[in-house]
Symmetry: D2
Subunit: 337 residues, 4 copies
């Protein structure tokens, strides 16, 4: 950690900072430049609260040197994490595709979708039984009945299921039916929930908060991992920007950035990242070309009748076309699908 | 709701949209302009899912006409909501000041702070027993022990306490000790938690998500209110922007905007909205000048020793100076403090 | 245009709005719902100032129905614009690659770069003679001497050149030497400059403002086109968001969005959109996979000695590797390079 | 400047960085921690290009220590700059109010406005003769005829005028008529224009770019000042965020931040920063409470007939009410108006 003092900082102020650090057992290194005094802190800065120093009199800025995550860091585990999912492996050469509707609406809807996406080559099925909705007046999901439908469809089609869990007290219930636990964008920093899924041994699909930094996403992964569950799949699903034409802005940079910073697999959700089904095919191709390990895509047999997110759902026929195109791109970058 | 068709929409596509609406019991009004066909939907659009229409073939855009919140809306309750807090009333002429440390650290720290802020004129005490921290390695709060300290300090000083609740299963515990339940910025869209505090009859201080629009803040208030608890205090605490000098950007516009849109009281948190104690005095004055009903300010007897957020905490002496200045501004806008 | 009145709007206020519109020659259509009155305006709303209406007493919101651009719109020209560039055509099947250093530094540097990028398959050469720099103390470019170098390198290598023009009074000078005039991100809304390049008949590479919407980008294209110059190449170069790890966020969604909204060719600049050379290869692949008509990439023979933007410049060898990979992706999406 | 090497950086890579620095005449200080090697650079880092270092192999990050502006910095000039404006002084105790319409439309409109705002207590008159408009089809301003009207109104009312200049070749013309040259938000980084107004000796009102950081605003001031013109007035006019209800988000934090970082006077434009006249009064009070040295406010005798920005323009009567309220706040913070 580097502490930059103000130009007019007094020697008393410098001494107070040094004393504060030394009382905590830190070694310091002081450098007096022409304009400013700079204090280097030697030791594991992750244990040092940046804020308490930066508020001290005479301090201009405190700059951390190390990244705050460890378990998720590629520095500490250079090789890619590979997570087994029903015979498939995410984080390996093959690009994994998760497809299905926004919400579980009925057995018929789920079966029809599952059969269609399986035939088109999808590896896992998605569908929400508990739905976080902006409005309390919107459909909130079928709850446990939806989970039962998912389990039944899995049994009939062999497709394992990814579904969202919204609060710590739902974790046991959802884990009973689901193969992968999804943490939604609004819950990326719901720490009680992160701790709860960290206590299970189910793979967790962790969606990036719509206004969270990449570092914060990795810190949320660190929460889960520090509870003992290392099976974390990161999901870039679009961030909130000033652009109004699309629902979110797909941060495609995040794919190679995450590949640099972490060993965890990275999935992209082009449906939420655009909010319009007409943009899903092009951005799915882009995600795979950028190096994503997987895609999660909304498919609904009849989007105009969907209870939610119809505008970003593909019809099965369009999803099948997408798979053909995405497969070609995957091969062009040396992967299969 | 207004549906704008694409320029080249076919009459079949227009008919499908009309059929979709009519099958749901909606009345429609069609207007064929030179460039585009526009369909008006007559009825309570809040029950209509915008997304399923906007994804239909031939549809260019769907524009809602009504605001999606009702209980929180000033249209439906023109007069200000007033919430009683230990003899004080928030939402009335008097500006209410809530002060205290980021986290409860010890009985001594809380007592010292409480006595100081009370003397300076604060009306309520804040302090976190459960702390949402970006890093799993940071101090997570004292938990129930912290709540007990808060209760003890209340008894000795008479200051009622505001403290955060982070998950539905904590609500009963926190409500046992606290006078006002705080929902933190990362939990503004934790719907399970909103429903849980909505089931209590304690006032709720609802912080705006750092990534949330004003409309979403009001929808989260609507969640709480639709559970029967109408005692919601809204808190603007800064939003995330591209500006890097400050931790967040205080959205001062939100104060008069909320006063237009809702009858609920509005509090500003200049400590989090700036992230630097040197900026708290000026922005506190601004918040009151803009019409805020209250302030929530971090005060710590020794910020350099604080376990968290030291850089944005005021020393008691500086807080007392702030109160003097803020009082003058309150009086200038026709209010007391 | 749709005008939504407030719930409590008086009939006098409604009448004032109607009178205001009718005095301007507009036809209106009024719809009185249960909650609100809505006024539809019939006619070419592009001639109507939205602001003057939305400020009127009793008006809640004004919602435009039409898009504000015409010449740039695909609605008015469905077929793609194709722009000839020295035997290549941008906007056609072939993906065009523009490569070169941030700034022209010397004849040697430009010749070495030009030979290398041509050999790797680039179609045009980039290099700035006039450099917009955040600091007045940074290198501001070689000016006309730099332009002369570019012209000389073109003659020797046959590569046509793209270079930036920063003010209206430079347009003639730059047009004398350059083949494509570049408008930089900070000048996207420099209307005097847009008008000036619109008066030439040189192709214009128009970079999106780092915090401009897609609609504003198209309005800036409209400025150039309304002056008679229809040879506009749009460039997505990253937008400013809260994410700090990368210099900008590449808005990959913008590629298919622009393909929907406009007939103009779309180029992506992964160097500026990421700000780190390690991310350029992955994002270049993504851009082509998303449907970009071209790429503009920074290449420098010795980035560590570059006078600017060294951190985002590729060495020639790495650029050649990138071309191999991007070519495979182009073929996978049915294009050549 | 601090250079943080990657964890796995080789000693060759460290040596290359050291050699690169030493060849440029910089002294270095190397610190080898448990996890990483850190290189400190000693000397005036403003002359060192950060980018060329951060792109070098083995480098993780480069962190500047000094702020990049000097002439604008309070470190180098602790006392406030005071700029004389027709007998008033901006940057002193008195809060200066600039008022007038968005655009000059006619002699009658300007005279009526000028008389009204003067009577209400405004100190300067604003009004645009050259108008930057998003659409080429919108009214672009009256040009020199508008400037002549401004000059005539000044003569009759004694109010000095602030008006925008949009390109370097207009500077002489505008300077002939205007008392203060305004640089608009879209031109904050139009460096040719900054240099041109820097060559004059007229005060410059420099509006923050809607997409610009506070540091970039100060760097643009530095451009003007490095040309010899130190009479720069900074203007916070709202930044672009994800919030859609208001046109921009007034960054009220920027007022005290600028007061810390620079000696230049700071003015706030609540009209553009909100985009709605109903919000202007509350945010004007807030700006003064936060410490602004002045306000610039849009006033139009008949906003519903304004050619532009009617929705954010106050009627003269409402402006007079605002002045009464703002005056009280100014007095509450120890200033006059």
């Amino acid at each position: 950690m580097i502490i930059v003092m103000k130009m007019n900082a007094t020697s008393n102020e410098v001494d107070s900072v040094l004393a504060r650090l030394e009382s905590g057992g830190w070694k310091t290194h002081i450098s007096r430049g022409e304009e400013r005094t700079i204090i280097g802190v030697i030791g594991d800065e992750r244990k040092l609260d940046q804020g308490t120093l930066s508020g001290m009199d005479g301090v201009d800025r405190v700059m951390p040197v190390l990244r705050p995550f460890k378990l998720a860091s590629r520095d500490f585990q250079p090789e890619d994490s590979k997570i087994a999912l029903n015979g498939h492996v995410i984080g390996d050469n093959k690009v994994i595709v998760i497809a299905g509707p926004c919400a579980v609406e009925s057995m018929e809807q789920m079966m029809e979708t599952a059969i269609a996406v399986k035939e088109a080559g999808a590896h896992l099925l998605r569908g929400g039984a508990f739905k976080p909705r902006t409005s309390p007046y919107s459909f909130q999901g079928m709850g446990e009945d939806g989970l039962k439908i998912l389990a039944e469809v899995r049994q009939q089609t062999g497709l394992h299921v990814v579904t969202e869990v919204m609060s710590p007290d739902q974790v046991d219930l959802v884990a009973k039916y689901a193969d992968v636990l999804q943490i939604g964008t609004r819950n990326m920093q719901n720490y009680a929930l992160l701790n709860a899924v960290g206590q299970t041994r189910k793979p967790v699909l962790l969606k990036r908060g719509m206004m969270s930094t990449i570092e914060e996403l990795l810190m949320s992964a660190e929460y889960i991992m520090s509870n003992g569950n290392h099976k974390v799949i990161l999901c870039e699903r679009g961030i909130r920007t000033f652009e109004k034409y699309t629902r979110n802005t797909l941060d495609i940079n995040a794919v190679p950035v995450l590949k640099e910073l972490t060993h965890l697999p990275v999935v992209v959700d082009p449906s939420h990242a655009t909010g319009r089904w007409t943009l899903v095919k092009a951005t799915s191709r882009a995600a795979v070309a950028a190096g994503a390990d997987g895609l999660i895509i909304e498919v609904h047999p009849n989007p105009a009748e969907a209870v939610s997110d119809g505008e970003q759902s593909l019809k099965p026929k369009r999803f099948a076309e997408l798979m053909v195109e995405v497969r070609r791109v995957a091969e062009a970058v040396g992967r299969s699908i």
